[in-house]
Amino acid sequence: MLLTWLWLAPALAMIVVWAMPSRGLARGTALLFSLGLFAYSLWLLAPYSEGLLHLEELGVAGPLGIRYRLSVDGIALSLCWLSALLTVLSLAASWKADVPNAFWASFLGLEAALMGVFCARDLFYFYLFWDIALIPMFFIIGLWGSSGRRKASLKFVLYTFLGSLSLLIGLLALVTLHHQATGVWTWDMSALEKTPIAGRAALWTYAALALGFAVKIPVFPLHNWLPDAHTEAPAAGSVMLAGSMLKMGLFGFLRVLLPVFPDLSAAALPVLGGLGVVNILYGALCAMAQSDLKRLVAFTSVSHLGFCLVGLFSLTAAGIAGASLQMLNHGLSTGGLFLLVGMLYERAHRRGLNDFGELASRTPIFAFFFAFILLSSIGLPGLNGFVGETMCLAGMAKASLPLTALGLIGTVLAAAYGLPAFQAVFWAPAGPGSASPGLADLDLRERLILWTLVALILWLGLYPRPMLELLEPAASALAQR
């Protein structure tokens, strides 16, 4: 029952928090609960290392082959930590927002769905949590977003729902074909591994599943829901959306596609690996041309997840471990950037690059944190971004050199979008209508949030080995080269 509590507790807490009489009480309980859940998820490492969490089943498999199965491997556990941590940080960051209980409740609901996705081992429940996560996000963007939230929220849900439908058809086709090939109805991921399905049907199923996951990552052509969703979502919403929701797509590749269709995934290297590189370059190039800070950060996350895709489809142990580590890094650094932009927006209600100036002298602490997390995001060695990117590209170097070289151009473009933005906001002199005069520097709460992020970034950057040892077994199980 250990893993069930991981998603059930936040679901129950959601209802409790929603029904709370006063807003302060709701806010307090939500934050305390999320802290508790984060501690619990960390504590799970002990039973995990004793192998207790490999399978947790309830009830009996009905004629449909569906059964309530949960299991966690290294990568899933790390993603649970990431979601729990980001929930704590985003709730703490929006402490001063005057929002009803439903705001805090939807974050807990979102966390429950995310934990469900990362722990699910049965494809039915995986899909169930996959879609449930959409609803709280719809309300978070819709109710508490900024001006264009109406359109962005509906666009986000419909676009992602298209992906989910393709995923649904893919899953059903997979199970049916598996039944035709082996005569067994099963939805268990490990039972479906290396399924004997072959030929065109397998290709179509793979395409449907890949499309479903690709919309979520997002992969290049299907990405344009991301900038709108991010610019309109509240800061905390963007942190959760970028921090953990985008990882559901990659986790899907990792947990469903790679083990079930190993040979097709190997054959898909030029297509999906290539799309990963396109993601890197496209995201970086678009980020260079943005004038709104939040849209810029949104496009950087497109670029970072391109690295994960490249790492994943190199099908080497290094690549896959690098991709999982890059998922965590992206959660920390892009989540941090969104928190910072949120704090800036909270003070100045403006997000334009040229709306600010000489913030380095007016708000030095804010400048330090922004510089630090931005450097980690553009992959400065010694910080976590570099570790993830290096391992993804090192993995891909074994698979195909041209993709590695193109991916590396992404790191150059990263400097091209990161530093000018930093210079425009912090170094350039304040223009006539700029919002810099009178900006207050960070208070203790915000500094505390950012110090945790900085500490994690430094730890993962300088000594990533313990985390890699956690991710290693799951990665080398999938590796083929």
Binding site: Y159, L285, A289, A317, T390, T411, W427, R465, E472
Partner: protein, 620 residues
């Protein structure tokens, strides 16, 4: 050796932490104390290491210490470790010595700057990264500190960030370095994927089983990284603009230490480069082309620090020529001596700028128009500058002569006359531009040099000591030849008289030419500039290369804007949103089927039934 290595890292890190957490809040103006102490400690440790290695206490001059395993994934394992051998100890010695002196100088130079603390934090972060780079035991660890140095140069060039030119220069430096790092990183990936390791010892031991193509690619890519950092031909555009930073920064980073990191990388991967003679030849050619071009431009610049910057590019080109001709000892020796006298020249330029401070109203660099006839007012600086100039142009007793002569011997040994003659031309060129600067700045005021110089005065004591120390080192560095050769395990240098005389002749000719141009016809400099403005513009634009690179960057930015606006914002995004509108549109047309009249309903029912019946019976 263990403790020395520990001090190498512990001292700068603790100084930085102290500076950031303690001094920043309570004593910002005293931040330089922990920094100076840590510099002294590191200098002592590195000199001690040089002595240990020189006296042969370390087996075959290589001392390695694996520190910790950084990351392990699948087939390859990435470990952090230290490696101190003859090469790194020597360069480390020079770097730490010069850094200590320039730290001392900076205390005086930056005394009245309001963000004194921030300056020393960045300055010492650079020092830490440089030390880390020199003692890395594998390519990846070297890359980590390599980018650390790049970041430090970004922060320090853009130290006075109020000025747009400083911001642009900082960003340009970081981006060009990042382009070079792209090559470096690709080489690392090539090695990782083919050998599974990037440790120097393992890589050089297993060079045999690398296919020739990969070897060739790795060598070229490593040179690409080195070219960016050491400002060689295609990627040298950032160094002249880097003069926007404060003079101690220019002195330390863009003259003595950081720019030599590229040469150090080449020296470090010498065993690998020796396997691919083609790349060596290419390196020599690029080095020669860079040094010739830079010398030409340096001889015509008016701005003091720009002349010295181009002179650095030229000297680095010379070192690359040495590497290209396989003369590792020559390159390293010149690297060390150049570190001393170029730092000296920059510090003198710094004190000139400091002296003319009021008239320059805060500009980081001074032009020849403002200087002129300063010898009387700044005798000590003039003397030091003279020693530096003599060392640079390679006049015998001073350091430059020995190292440059060794390079020329190496070039001569390769037998290609053209290369030798062009190297002699470079030697002559270096004496031309440095002495032209000397005569224009210090001797004889010309009508065009009307800048107010009444208040010019010698810099304070704290700035004079490093200048004098460096003057002594520039003079005495020549004697370092034998110990360095012993540490590197190379053959002891011997002076081939014919080549030394040729080099001396070239230097003398250069000095005479400079004297004729600057003293005999005092305003020759201004006259030809007015006569051929076209030539001036080309030379100022670095043979058109600066504007070319700016155009490329502009084109990439334009492409990204077009991609983000016309594709993302105006065609792809609206297209996906229009899918929803088409659905609603379809709904609109469907309403035309019937306007709600009863007879239409009945009509449809009959039609439906008959179509159905027809379909069923006909296709039966």
């Amino acid at each position: 050796m263990q403790t020395a290595a520990l001090v190498l890292f512990a001292a700068p890190v603790s100084a930085l932490l102290l500076g950031f957490f303690v001094f920043r809040r309570w004593r910002p103006e005293k931040t330089h104390w922990p920094m100076l102490l840590s510099c002294a400690a590191v200098t002592a440790a590195s000199l001690w290491m040089c002595v240990r290695i020189h006296d042969g206490f370390i087996p075959d001059n290589v001392w390695e210490l694996p520190v910790y395993r950084w990351a392990c994934a699948g087939s390859f394992v990435l470990e952090f470790g230290l490696r101190v051998d003859g090469l790194s100890a020597a360069v480390l010695g020079m770097v730490s010595l010069v850094s200590t002196l320039i730290h001392l100088y900076a205390v005086g130079y930056m005394a009245e700057d309001r963000s004194f603390n921030r300056f020393f934090l960045y300055f010492h972060f650079f020092f830490l990264s440089m030390v880390g780079l020199l003692v890395a035991d594998n390519y990846l660890q070297m890359y980590v500190f390599w980018e650390g140095v790049g970041l430090a140069s970004f922060l320090l060039i853009g130290f006075w960030y109020e000025k747009a030119s400083a911001r642009a220069a900082a960003w340009k430096a970081f981006l060009t370095n990042r382009i070079g790092d792209l090559g470096f990183m690709l080489a690392v990936f090539l090695l990782l994927s083919s050998l599974g390791t990037v440790r120097f010892t393992d890589v050089f031991a297993r060079l045999g089983d690398l296919p020739h193509g990969t070897l060739y690619a790795v060598a070229f890519l490593l040179f690409m990284g080195a070219a960016a950092k050491s400002a060689q031909f295609p990627l040298h555009v950032w160094l002249p603009d880097a003069m926007e930073g404060p003079t101690p920064v220019s002195a330390l980073m863009h003259a003595a230490t950081m720019v030599t990191a590229g040469v150090f990388l080449m020296a470090r991967s010498m065993p690998l480069l020796r396997e691919v003679p083609g790349v060596l030849a290419m390196i020599a050619l690029v080095g020669l082309m860079t040094s010739l071009g830079a010398a030409a431009v340096a001889a015509t610049r008016k701005d003091l620090k720009r002349v010295l910057a181009y002179s650095t590019v030229s000297q680095l080109g010379l070192m690359m020529v040495a590497i290209g001709t396989g003369n590792l000892f020559g390159a390293v020796f010149h690297l060390i001596t150049h570190g001393f006298f170029k730092a000296l020249l920059f510090l003198c330029a710094g004190s000139v700028i400091h002296a003319l401070h009021e008239s320059l109203n805060g500009a980081p660099t001074a032009s020849v128009d403002d200087a002129g006839g300063l010898a009387r007012k700044l005798p000590v600086t003039f003397g030091a500058f003279l020693i530096g100039a003599l060392a640079l142009s390679g006049i015998p007793p001073l350091a430059g002569f020995f190292s440059k002569d060794n390079i020329l011997e190496g070039v001569h040994a390769t037998g290609s006359l053209g290369l030798y003659l062009l190297s002699l031309l470079v030697a002559a060129g270096s004496s031309v531009y440095i002495f032209r600067l000397l005569f224009l700045a210090f001797l004889g005021e010309r009508p065009e040099q009307r800048g107010p110089k009444a208040h010019a005065h010698e810099p304070g004591f704290r700035m004079k000591v490093p200048i004098l120390a460096l003057a002594v080192f520039s003079a005495a560095a020549g004697t370092l030849g034998e110990p360095l050769a012993k540490m590197l395990g190379a053959a002891a240098p011997h002076l081939d008289l014919s080549i030394s005389f040729a080099a001396l002749g070239a230097a003398a000719a250069g000095i005479l030419l400079a004297w004729w141009a600057a003293m005999r016809r005092p305003s020759f400099d201004w006259k030809w500039r007015r006569a051929q403005p076209e030539l001036e513009r080309i030379l100022d634009d670095d043979f058109g290369w600066q504007s070319f690179t700016a155009a490329c960057a502009g084109r990439v930015a334009a492409f990204s804007r077009r991609l983000s606006d016309s594709w993302e914002k105006r065609s792809w995004d609206p297209f996906t949103e229009s899918l929803a509108d088409t659905a609603v549109g379809l709904g609109e047309n469907l309403t035309l089927l019937s306007r709600g009249a009863l007879n239409e309903y009945l009509w449809w029912i009959v039609v439906g039934a008959s179509v159905l019946a027809g379909a069923v019976t006909l296709c039966f």
